[in-house]
Symmetry: C2
Subunit: 528 residues, 2 copies
């Protein structure tokens, strides 16, 4: 009985609650209706005395209602040749400034900006100018305007010789009024902000709001140039007869001992994320593809929080069979890099200049043919500069940088190859130097003193590979499939992997790899 | 005391054991020395009467000992123009047949084969011919030979007009004698083996021994053509002003509700593998890149064991802002596909023919402009053909295939677009049709009756997106970052994702996606 009573009470309580809710909703609806009536009245009043009322407004959401036969001119194409033409433009409101009966807008599309003017007159009413002045920054609008040549260059815009006299303005997509960061702040050169008491934007704020940060001229330029790096890399290799391959990222065994590898749940078992496509590239060589490359993500579970480490980055990977000497492969790789440097210099000068405005740096220098130093020579140069180190010790990051400066001084190049690393500091599959068992047929490549590629001639003989793996204490069972790949005839071969984000960063003289990764991943960042 | 005694006993036992071991090793060494002496004697004897002893042998492992100034001619370049020339070739032993004082080899490099002859005479001794005849198949050799025109075409080789008269032969890399599969079996057309009682190779054997299976002419052709698909895709889009982007594969939240997603351990937390780059492509659109594409791995934790599902495949992804109507985007995508089809037809005819020898199929047909049907029309066609289905029901795989046949009969095309899918069967971010709330601005594309692309106009308005997500019962908290991307002005846009392996498979008329993935991943396969 008690239960039922409780049930009844509850029901009563609920119906009271429901009643109250209904009342509240009715009140709310009444208020809303009142407000709307008032707004409609105001609107009608405004509309009645507004001769320009059809010339502005907020468009219904573009839902592909119609196929409009109207060309849109891009901001970058607004030049004096278009003077006096009536055109339509779609762009964002970069800045907006009302001044008496006028409203000055700066319209932006990608790296390009143009000034636009609305003035009360024949084509624009008071209400229309007010409407334009109240639009939020970053909103996307369509304007119809006449292109006008200007007497004095507009220094603040990329299109300096013309401005737009706006006759219609419609909002395509509104931005919220409050932006998480200001684009002007985000492109301000470091240091400049401090002096003038103006804000700059710190890296975490940028990355947290990447969708806005990527709109800056600097970001637009960086990632267009990076797209160019990939294109130049591939085009050069395809011209050289390379074949593009796709290698799996989910793998069953961690190839190099299992350190620094991410684990994936794979149905009822576990798997790993590939730390490099190397074993697969090598299998393609053993399968007679001869020259292969791939571009794809590489995963490193290293807890390194530095300016140049990411847990996921893009690898530009090369593997190539050679005839007699692995220098054939070094030559192919360095030539590819040189083609990339030349292509960037010749085809991406606008982007380089844009980035330099915010982050200044010296133009990137390189030699033809590429400088190749032996590890021994490098150690000698460092020792001569006062560094204390063993002959077969690996290079520390500061020593790499110092070496970069010494090489730049002596040879005037920002790009060089360091050849013949000590065998002990390289992975088990590295081919030993035939003339000196302490060294190996391996190499790194450097840009502005930082490593961008690591590579080597690989051991292509199953027996030697077994010996080397044993020497390194690697469980042979785990790399059986790898070693077996070399049992049925394997051509001598060498290769290497390049970090895309590092190439972009160092070519542009930037100082953090997060600037050249659209959505960087590090031990502390997994979003956006 | 007991412990010590035990220790002593153990030591004694050990030293006995050691002694025994030493004796055994000494015996072994003695035997080995004896054997070697015998071999050396035999060798000397052989060498003494072998005038050709410097003309053949096993090279030391190529360890980049020297930079040899010797050009190697590729098998594919061995044509009658080279007749009477003395050249060096590096190739694999494809087949070997001894016949009296002669040995016939077929040498293979990639898709190309040439006949080579060793005959006892001035340039080759009995021992040398015997040596060549005993070489294992798949070994890589360097031969010096004179190119000779032949009277009768050699039908069994790709180079039918010449053969090589071998004067020197050196082994670069030996294959083990016992191969896990025979290349002749692996290229035998299905069915042909059964009739003649000859073997074909089943798919698992192929995939387990992929490094050998990839050496077949069919595999070489498939993956060269696939490299071409990627290249044509990118070149076409770059010409259209698209920018290549790189999107992260490790993500913090499963975008579409969390089903079918692989989990990754990420330091002290968990993450997921991206099921598509879509959200990132869209962020790039919101960041004004306007037209973007990416090529990269896509992960699906679906336990589907079919001919067309992989757990990891390569996505060719496109996203594009449009002006007024999403058909602008459909037109860009279909034109890109048409450029791919034309490029393959014109530049990869050798590869197509090679694959056809093993897997015959009709040439791929397409129309210009591409056929676009509405979903309603497709349902009507199916109903007319006797299929019972609801108007807003999704297409089953058999119905897709049937529709493909009906479309082929009626329009004579293997490629078409199906537009305006029912809203209910598409993801929450799909833009509803403005004219009929039951339909949507979404589309699939088909090749030979199988889906290769799924795409849509996306909702670019944060409010509508919230409504749609709520309608689909999606936790708004989990997609907050995604929805927030649209709050600061977003252009209308559409896009889609293409499965690379499916395009290659269907273009070539193959029947299993594992044939067009170098190292396929499915619920049961994680290796090699």
């Amino acid at each position: 009985m008690k239960v039922q009573r409780a049930g009844e009470e509850e029901q009563q309580a609920q119906s009271k609650k429901a009643l109250k809710k209904q009342q509240k909703e009715a009140e709310k609806a009444a208020k809303k209706a009142e407000k709307q009536a008032k707004l409609a009245a105001e609107q009608q009043e405004t509309d009645e005395d507004d001769f320009a009322k059809d010339r502005y407004g907020i468009c219904p959401m573009v839902q592909s209602q119609q196929k409009l036969d109207r060309a849109l001119v891009r901001v970058q194409d607004l030049t004096p040749e278009k003077a006096e033409q009536q055109i339509w433009v779609r762009a964002r409101i970069h800045t907006s400034r009302a001044k008496g009966k006028q409203c000055f807008l700066v319209l932006r599309h990608q790296q390009f900006t143009v000034q636009a003017l609305l003035a009360v007159g024949d084509r624009a009413s008071k209400q229309m100018v007010k409407f334009a002045a109240n639009l939020t920054k970053e909103s996307i609008i369509d304007v119809e305007a006449v292109v006008k040549k200007v007497e004095q260059k507009i220094e603040s815009c990329s299109q300096q010789d013309v401005e737009l006299h706006v006759e219609r303005v419609f909002v395509i997509s509104q931005s919220e009024a409050r932006l998480p960061l200001q684009l002007e702040d985000a492109v301000r050169p470091e240091g400049e902000g401090d002096e003038e008491g103006r804000a700059t934007v710190n890296q975490d704020t940028r990355l947290d709001n990447r969708v806005i940060d990527l709109r800056t001229t600097t970001s637009q330029a960086i990632f267009r140039l990076q797209s160019g790096v990939c294109q130049l890399f591939r085009d050069t290799l395809i011209n050289k007869g390379f074949v593009e391959i796709q290698t799996p990222k989910i793998i069953s065994a961690a190839s190099e001992g299992g350190a620094n590898v991410f684990t994936v749940s794979y149905f009822k078992t576990s798997a790993y994320l590939a730390q490099s496509p190397q074993l697969y590239k090598q299998m393609c060589i053993c399968a007679d593809f001869d020259k292969v490359f791939c571009v794809g993500p590489v995963f490193r579970a290293e807890d390194s929080n530095t300016h140049r480490h990411l847990t996921e980055f893009v690898g530009l990977d090369i593997e190539m069979a050679f005839n007699y000497h692995y220098h054939e492969v070094i030559d192919s790789i360095t030539d590819t890099m040189v083609q990339i440097f030349k292509g960037l210099r010749d085809r991406f000068q606008t982007e380089i200049q844009t980035v330099n405005k915010q982050y200044s740096s010296e133009p990137f220098k390189f030699l033809e043919p590429t400088l190749r130093l032996e590890y021994k020579e490098a150690v000698a140069m460092l020792k001569a500069a006062g560094v204390e180190m063993g002959d077969e010790e690996d290079l520390s990051t500061p020593n790499e940088k110092l070496l970069g400066r010494l090489v730049k001084e002596k040879y005037d190049t920002d790009f060089y190859v360091l050849d013949k690393y000590p065998l002990a500091v390289r992975p088990f599959y590295t081919m030993p130097d035939p003339n000196n068992p302490k060294y190996s047929n391996s190499y790194d490549m450097f840009m502005r003193g930082e490593e961008i590629l690591s590579g080597a001639q690989r051991v292509h003989d199953a027996q030697l590979l077994t010996e080397r793996a044993t020497h390194h204490g690697i469980d042979l069972e785990k790399i059986k499939a790898y070693i077996d790949s070399f049992r049925y005839g394997a051509p001598p071969h060498a290769g290497g992997g390049i970090g895309l984000e590092r190439v972009t960063m160092l070519y542009l003289g930037l100082h953090n790899v997060r600037q050249t990764s659209m959505f960087p991943r590090d031990p502390k960042r997994l979003t956006p």
